[in-house]
Structures are given as structure tokens and as C-alpha cells.
């Protein structure tokens, strides 16, 4: 089967600083793919490149077969309508209510009557576990966890088959983070989504991801979670077998 996202030989550099040097990545249908890496390793740059927000110095980025690095804005539009993105800080439009935030992609891409816009937006808001009265609130009135959920609701506005999440559980308390992991799994199973998720959260990774890609030395080492956990690379060993990870790993293996 054709990979949903395929990155080959990606090179990104800012001035003399090389962020990615021949990075390969592949995300398959129906999987939750976790992108892991140290601070400054270029996780966000990778995501921005995949989203077409940034042109790479070299390499190809294919989303369902089409190489987005050489497409114009107009050609990118239908591809962008096919995926949803929830940014790290939510990036909700602060001047719009949650309902209007979710409606915006639909208004941008579709011609729908107002009643349908409202009904669909409410559906997505309820789907991500927000109460209906959150719809009329402005982002500044929401808690951190609600902002993240609202961002996912907006990402789901166009019923995409592919969802990008940038550190969805960062800044959440463990209970909210676990609830968010449940949401990710629920959406993945019920909507048959392919999810690409940048995360630092070990609990999240063990809970939700099928495969993991670790950015080390400007490249990506990827594989199933079991394989990656046993990878000999020192950074990966430190990440999965460090002080903070050991308890979690023991629990996962014990289960």
C-alpha cells in the first residue's frame, strides 16, 4: 500500500546550521506514528516542512503520492484540505469563538448553508469531548486541555484522513494527558485516521503509537516501538532507558 506520508533525503538548513541531513520517514495507513527527538533536533521543522510551511533545501515530501515540495499554493489547496493539524499551543484564532474556529476551514473550502456549518462544527466539538457550551467561548476563556481539544476539533473540520498533532499532551496534567491519549485512540479507531504526532511524553508514546521515528544526528531512526526501545543509539537508549523512562518501560513490558 502507498505510504500516506513519505519523506526522502530531506535536507533543511538555516545558514550554517544543518537541521536535517538526509532524513527519511514513512507513515503508513491507519497507524499512529510518533516523532521523537531532543529539543532543537528539528521535530517542528520537520512538521513545518511536511505541512508545506517551509521549503526544504533538498529532498522530497510526498503526501499520498504527490510531492508537495514542488507544488504551488493553488495546487497545495486540495492536499491541505485532506489533512488536519493541531498546533502545539492550539493556535486557535483568538478573535473567534470555538464554534467559529471549527467552522473556518469549512467556510474556506466548502460552500455549505449556515445550519450545516453550525451542526457539523458542533458535532466535531462534541466528538473531541468538549461540552456543547464550550462552543460559544473564546479561546482565552478555555483551559489548556480544552484549547488542545478545540484545536483537534478544528483539525477535524474537513473530515481528514490524516491528522498531525504537535506535542498534544505538553503542558497538560497527567490526568488530562491520559484523557487526551484516549481521545487520540478513540479518533484513530473510529475514524480510521492516520495520525502523525510529535511528542515528548513517554506515556503517550507507549499508549498510542504503533511506530516511532527518532530524530538523531540530523536523521531519523524509525521502526515499531519494541524495536526502537532496544535500539543501541546512545540518545535513544538515554531516552527510553533513562531515569524517567524506566518505571514506564517496566510497566509496559510487565503488562
Amino acid at each position: 500500500m502507498e505510504p500516506v506520508v513519505e519523506v526522502r533525503g530531506l535536507v533543511n538548513r538555516f545558514g550554517r546550521q544543518v537541521v536535517h541531513d538526509g532524513l527519511d520517514m514513512q507513515v503508513n495507513e491507519d497507524e499512529v506514528f510518533g516523532i521523537v527527538g531532543g529539543s532543537g533536533s528539528g521535530k517542528s521543522v520537520l512538521l513545518r516542512t511536511i505541512l508545506g510551511l517551509q521549503r526544504p533545501a533538498a529532498g522530497t515530501v510526498r503526501i499520498r503520492g504527490s510531492d508537495i515540495t514542488h507544488l504551488s499554493e493553488a495546487q497545495l489547496r486540495p492536499i491541505k484540505a485532506g489533512y488536519g493539524v493541531a498546533f502545539q499551543s492550539g493556535a486557535l484564532y483568538s478573535g473567534l469563538t470555538v464554534l467559529e474556529n471549527v467552522q473556518l476551514p469549512m467556510i474556506e473550502h466548502l460552500k455549505l448553508p449556515p445550519a450545516a456549518l453550525e451542526g457539523l462544527a458542533l458535532l466535531k466539538i462534541r466528538l473531541v469531548g468538549l461540552p456543547a457550551d464550550a462552543a460559544a467561548k473564546y479561546p482565552a476563556q478555555l483551559s489548556g486541555g480544552m484549547v488542545k481539544r478545540a484545536a483537534v476539533a478544528r483539525a477535524l473540520a474537513l473530515d481528514p484522513q490524516l491528522l498531525f498533532l504537535d506535542e498534544p499532551t505538553s503542558g497538560l496534567d497527567p490526568v488530562s494527558a491520559a484523557a487526551f491519549d484516549d481521545l487520540v485512540l478513540y479518533l484513530q479507531q473510529h475514524l480510521k485516521l492516520t495520525i502523525v504526532m510529535i511528542t515528548h511524553d513517554l506515556d503517550s508514546i507507549f499508549r498510542t503509537c504503533n511506530r516511532v521515528g527518532v530524530i538523531v544526528d540530523q536523521r531519523m531512526i524509525s521502526g515499531t516501538l519494541d524495536r526502537i526501545v532496544d535500539d543501541p543509539h546512545p540518545w535513544i537508549r538515554a531516552y527510553f532507558h533513562g531515569e524517567r523512562a524506566r518505571a514506564r518501560l517496566g510497566a509496559a513490558h510487565g503488562a
Binding site: 483568538s94 462534541r126 473530515d159
Partner: protein, 386 residues
């Protein structure tokens, strides 16, 4: 019974003895939703005893498509029809059903005032006026409090001048003063040209050419130099103060300062106020100079007046106070502009839209306050016979 067959894009409707049979076909996705909604809306379910839906023909069904289908099913049920599916209903429909039928929180967010307004049409205007009055008076009190706090901080810092952040003040003198010089000079020049042209046209007929000099000199020195400079600075720096502080508020930078024990008024507001209070008088001096130079140029080429005669006339027309009457207003205007900008900037909370709104308010209020203060100065100086 005759069976009518209507061919549509997404729905095939067949009327039978028991009721309707719907054959759903094709792509039921968000992309096709507009035509699906239209097709479903055309189906008349009034007095149909039974609706049977076959969904196996759908090639792609997403949540939006399922939502549209659910809407139709509910409409048919409300109309009294019995709805069932041939085979199993699609999973997506069940998911939408589950999502939307969870107990919704009672919507109790309407404020008492809104209820009153809704209950009584005449109450609406009254509520609006009352609210506006309360908000305006609170705004005024808060503005005065802000002004007072800044003043007390300044006075307290006079005893320990090292806390006045000289480097920060210098930066603001540069940003609001030095970089504004070209535009201020250009505008002062153009204004003196306009003034000279206008007065020359009127006075030449009376043979009173020489009074053009009086008009330009007194006009620029007393009023126009400082007023136009202030208006430009209000647009440039008033807005930049409000935008800068406002985005710092949005970014929680101001909260971070407060949390570290630093006083945002002392650190952010005072340097801007003092910087502008230094820069604006200096800009006014430049505007005055350029204005007089522009007058000289015009008199030379428009009225063929030699430069020496212009200078002599300028000396005769102005009194000892003319220049000072203009320049004394500059620091006052600077304070008004800086306070309007900083105060509105500090009021920003929550949203980018509010930032834009408050920057606009800051500039409009700064210009309004400057002109109001100028009018008060005019009355004051007249009473003082200056």
C-alpha cells in the same frame, strides 16, 4: 401503485406502497456535502409511513456525510415515519449518534440583563445605555488610576534615579524621536508651504505681502509645529506603544515581570513616557526650524522677498514668548500620547482582535487628547494675554 423513480447524485428515491425507499450511492463525504444536503432537502417525508434506507452503495462515508444522513433520519421520524435500514446501519452514523446524544449541559449562559432585554423590547436600549455609561466611568477611573500609579512610581524613583532605566529611556528617545525626524521635517515643510501659499493669495490683493511672514512664523511656532508633530507622533509611537505592550500582555510577558517582582509600570511604562517627553519637544524644535525655512523659501520665490528682509520681519513679528508658547505644549502632548498608548496596551487581554481594537483606540484617543489640550492651552494663553 406506480413507482416514481428520481435519479439524483447521492440519493435514489423510490416511492412504494409502504412509503419511501432510499438508495444511497456514491461519495458521502464533506466535499460532496452541499449537494447531499440539497438532495436530502428535496425529499418530501410528509405523510410517509415508512422510510427504508439502503446504505451499501456508499463508496465513502465520513462523519459529515453521516451527520447529514442523521439529520434526514431525524426529520423523517419527526414527521411520523418509521425509519429503518436494509442491512446494518453504517458505523459512522452510530458514532455521530453517540456523540450528539450525550446529555448536553443546560444552556444557562444568558446574563440577567440579556434576559431583561429579551423580555422587554424597550429594555434593550436602556440596558445598552446603562452598560455604556458604567463601562465609560469605570474606564475613566481606571485610566486615572493608571496615570496616578505612573506618577507616584516616577516620584518614588526620583529619589533613586538609577531605577529610571536611562538606557531604556534613550532607546525610546531614539525610536520615537530620531527615527521620526525625516517625516516630521517633511510635514513641517509642506505645512509651511501650504500656509504661505494660502496667505500669499489672500494678502497679495491687499498689498500686505509682508504679513505672510507673520502668519507663517506665528502659525508654525505657536500652533502648527507642535500640533502636527504631536499628531504624527501619536500615529507612530502611540500605536507602537500600545501594540508592543499589548502583545507582551498576550504573551504573558507582563505577568512574568510582575511575578519576578519587577514593576511593569516602572520597567515598561515610565521609560516610554519619559522617552517621549524628551523626544517630542526636540522634534518640535526641528519642525519649527524646518517650518521657518520653508516659509523663507516660499517668500523668496513666491513673493520675491530677499532673505534678509524675511529674517528681519520674523524678528519683528515674534515676541519673546512666541517660541516658548509652542514648545511648552510639547511635553504635555507627549505625556498624553504616551499614556494613551501605554494604558490601552496594558488593557489588552485574551485576543488578537482586542489588540487591534485597543491600538486603534489608543491612537484615536491620543490625537483627540492632544487637540483637546491644545484648545485648552489656547484659552489659557489668551487669558494670560500671551
Amino acid at each position: 401503485m406506480s413507482a416514481t423513480l428520481t435519479r439524483r447524485e447521492a440519493v435514489e428515491v423510490r416511492r412504494t406502497a409502504e412509503g419511501l425507499e432510499l438508495e444511497l450511492t456514491g461519495e458521502w463525504s464533506v466535499r460532496a456535502l452541499a449537494s447531499i444536503e440539497a438532495a436530502l432537502a428535496r425529499i418530501d417525508v410528509a405523510s410517509v409511513p415508512r422510510v427504508r434506507i439502503a446504505a451499501e452503495g456508499i463508496t465513502e462515508l465520513d462523519l459529515s456525510g453521516a451527520w447529514a444522513l442523521r439529520g434526514f433520519v431525524q426529520r423523517a421520524r419527526r414527521a411520523g415515519a418509521e425509519v429503518d435500514f436494509r442491512g446494518t446501519p453504517p458505523d459512522q452514523l452510530r458514532l455521530v449518534d453517540e456523540t450528539l446524544t450525550e446529555p448536553a449541559a443546560p444552556d444557562d449562559s444568558a446574563l440577567p440583563a440579556e434576559r431583561l432585554a429579551a423580555a422587554e423590547p424597550g429594555g434593550r436600549a436602556l440596558v445598552a445605555i446603562g452598560r455604556y455609561a458604567v463601562r465609560s466611568s469605570r474606564d475613566l477611573v481606571a485610566g486615572l488610576a493608571f496615570f496616578g500609579r505612573t506618577c507616584t512610581t516616577f516620584v518614588a524613583d526620583l529619589a533613586r534615579p538609577w531605577r529610571l532605566r536611562p538606557i531604556s529611556i534613550v532607546r525610546h528617545v531614539y525610536d520615537t524621536g530620531i527615527t521620526a525626524m525625516p517625516i516630521v521635517a517633511l510635514i513641517a515643510f509642506l505645512i509651511s508651504v501650504i500656509l504661505a501659499y494660502l496667505s500669499a493669495q489672500q494678502l497679495r490683493g491687499l498689498g500686505a505681502d509682508i504679513y505672510v511672514v507673520d502668519l507663517v512664523t506665528i502659525g508654525v511656532l505657536r500652533e502648527l509645529g507642535v500640533l502636527l508633530t504631536s499628531i504624527i507622533v501619536a500615529g507612530r509611537s502611540g500605536s507602537s506603544f500600545a501594540a508592543e505592550l499589548g502583545s507582551m500582555k498576550l504573551n504573558e510577558e507582563v505577568d512574568a515581570l510582575t511575578a519576578t517582582g519587577a514593576d511593569p509600570i516602572e520597567l515598561l511604562v515610565l521609560p516610554r513616557v519619559l522617552g517621549l517627553a524628551i523626544a517630542l519637544p526636540l522634534l518640535t524644535v526641528i519642525a519649527d526650524l524646518i517650518g521657518l525655512a520653508g516659509g523663507a523659501l516660499l517668500c523668496r520665490y513666491l513673493l520675491d522677498m530677499p532673505l534678509t528682509q524675511y529674517v528681519n520681519r520674523v524678528n519683528e513679528s515674534i515676541s519673546a514668548t512666541t517660541f516658548w508658547v509652542g514648545i511648552i505644549k510639547a511635553p504635555v502632548f507627549a505625556l498624553l500620547i504616551a499614556f494613551a498608548g501605554c494604558y490601552r496596551g496594558m488593557q489588552v487581554r485574551g485576543s488578537a482582535r482586542e489588540l487591534g481594537h485597543l491600538v486603534t483606540v489608543a491612537v484615536v484617543q491620543a490625537i483627540f487628547l492632544v487637540i483637546l489640550a491644545d484648545a485648552l492651552f489656547a484659552v489659557l494663553f489668551m487669558r494670560m494675554k500671551i
